[in-house]
């Protein structure tokens, strides 16, 4: 299933903030289905990589304790027109990403 990934960039002082929103359940593996009493299997994003103009600037490790539909933000020194690329992968091998321009 394709998951929606959105990137928003905005200036913050002399830096640029990159905000990433991924449409993802982030299931911890501890919740139970109330009807069947079975555990809902864990399903969460593990890796999120940020690149600016092809160069990796940050690499985030996420655990199951990150909220559903994670919104992750970092700040970088980037000029206007710089290309931002974000990619993620989860514990089930699903992958996704998005590109944006500052």
């Amino acid at each position: 299933m394709a998951r929606l990934t959105k990137i928003k960039t905005r200036p913050k002082g002399d830096k640029t903030e990159i905000l990433v929103l991924v449409n993802h359940p982030m299931e911890t593996g501890n919740r139970k289905n109330k009807k069947t009493k079975k555990k809902i299997p864990a399903h969460y994003i593990q890796k999120m990589t940020f690149k600016v103009d092809g160069k990796q600037v940050a690499d985030a490790d996420l655990g199951p304790a990150v909220s559903k539909n994670p919104l992750v933000g970092i700040r970088v020194n980037a000029k206007k027109g710089a290309k931002v690329a974000v990619s993620w992968s989860d514990n089930k091998g699903e992958k996704g990403g998005a590109n944006a321009t500052v």
Binding site: N30, V52, A58, G63, S67, L71, V72, G73, I74, R75
Partner: protein
Amino acid sequence: MNTMKRRTFLKGTLASGVVAVAAGSGLLRPTEALAAAWPKSAFKSKTVAQAMKSLYGSSSASSSKAIKIKAPIQAENGSVVPISVSTTLPKVQGIGVLVEKNPVPLATAVTMTGAAGFYSARIKMGKTSPIRVVVKSGGKLHMAKKTIKVTVGGCGG
């Protein structure tokens, strides 16, 4: 309270024993070689000290006033607690966010390779707990704490 402490202590020693054995037999080497691999053992650690140790190699960090945690004092819904960390420390290499009373304390960690000292995310909290932010800067560990009250937990259920 005493029993609680003993339990945490026992858990910590047991877990570190396992890691020591694994490191000794060379089991851990493949993961160390792959710097970009997801730190599985850190995300399985049940104590803050253990998580910090497996993530940054040390569980001791000095408190720093250069780390600012922006988070609500009271969170109505534990499943979405917005947290943002900013620091003025130079050469930030990584920022880790740990919730002390979650079943697995480590919520998220980021490795910086050029980005500024800022990180924000929304995390889940099981109950009222202090959150600990660890910043690695210039090879040293710094930390800051903030307690967040949670009225409705967001882990499991």
